[in-house]
Symmetry: C4
């Protein structure tokens, strides 16, 4: 089998538990990352749709990840038409890519002087 | 392929490690969330069955999640016929939905002044 | 479809990162749990094989989980023929069950006054 | 079915969120582990390719895991042709094995006096 030819990953991923902690203390800053691994030779365009509890989604915020590279995307920096993800609000993400990728989601909560970490592989479709 | 037409997620999910920490200290309160992402246009009814180590399950506590919305459900607030999930007791959950959804489970333990976080994508069936 | 008739979960699961922290401080004790959800009406016998870095496995330590119940099994309490899992040593587990179950693995590390948590759904086969 | 004969795990795994914390404080040292479980009787050769955000990958750093053993590989110790993974830099890993294995990735962040833990089962292909 020509393993190089098989696609690595999936092109649709979901992250139900998104949350940007509103505060930081200590030496690290609270943040979340959507970590993308692009094993393809070609660049990939990633479109992130953001779902909320009480209002319509922000549709398809686009980010490019170069071929044979990773990108750890800070959610606080995502923007489209002047809209961004507010801090301290529960949300969720759908991540659609132009080629198969692998997606992991991690959060560092530095609300307290001691930091807390969580991480999941996103759910592929 | 018409991606819009493909179901996003599964309609049956499992979370074996449930636990509501009995105490909190510091600025945040210990809690767990069952985070649901509903990508469907229609509302979804989610039925959560709670399993214990030493007594029969609490069957099908129902929660509605609107179409194209997420809902981060606090387990401490789940109730049926006056029954709720006791704090400080190991339990597990089965989550059945009327349409495909994606489910993530997260716990913030603030027993100590420094918080601790854990998260998993629930197991789909 | 008769959902009740479909098996819920798998009968073989793997946990590569096992580790019982050797120390505790603060109000909680460091521990790990193998959390089993048994949705079957029948009791399930779970056989846990423990793999090490530098010696042969401890084969098939058995635990019973009742029907329609969960059990959060502390790894420090597992024993067979006088052998148990030593603290402070990297190990791994294979969990084989007599009927399909769902398995999650969680660790509370209370080495420091502030606790740390991690959790994964075990890998099914 | 002869369960012994079925392969346990997969031979290709991905970990998008790699990061070696640059600092430690308190009694534990920050580190990451790629935890491999090899249920085969034969030894397995594991080849780890490391992807970065802004430069070409380090290709196929090889590690041997003995048959019927686990190995918790510290990423900070991985080396090839004098190259190793720098601390404090986002990266990702592809793990390819000569036989099926199971892979879990865990990080202990001891940047602050209170440690933080995260863990995921790697994504199989």
């Amino acid at each position: 089998m020509n393993r190089e030819a098989a696609p690595k990953g999936h092109s649709l991923w979901f992250i139900p538990d998104g949350y940007i902690p509103p505060e930081s203390s200590g030496s690290l800053e609270s943040h979340e990352s959507v970590c993308v691994l692009n094993c393809n030779k070609e660049d990939v365009t990633v479109a992130i749709t953001v779902f909320f509890e009480d209002r319509p989604p922000i549709e398809r915020i686009e980010v490019v990840v170069e071929g044979r590279r990773t990108k750890h995307i800070r959610t606080a920096g995502l923007q489209k038409d002047g809209e961004s993800i507010p801090k301290g609000v529960p949300y969720a993400m759908e991540v659609e890519a132009s080629l198969p990728i692998i997606v992991q989601y991690s959060r560092l909560d530095a609300t307290q002087p001691a930091n807390a970490l969580m991480s999941v592989i996103a759910f592929p479709s």
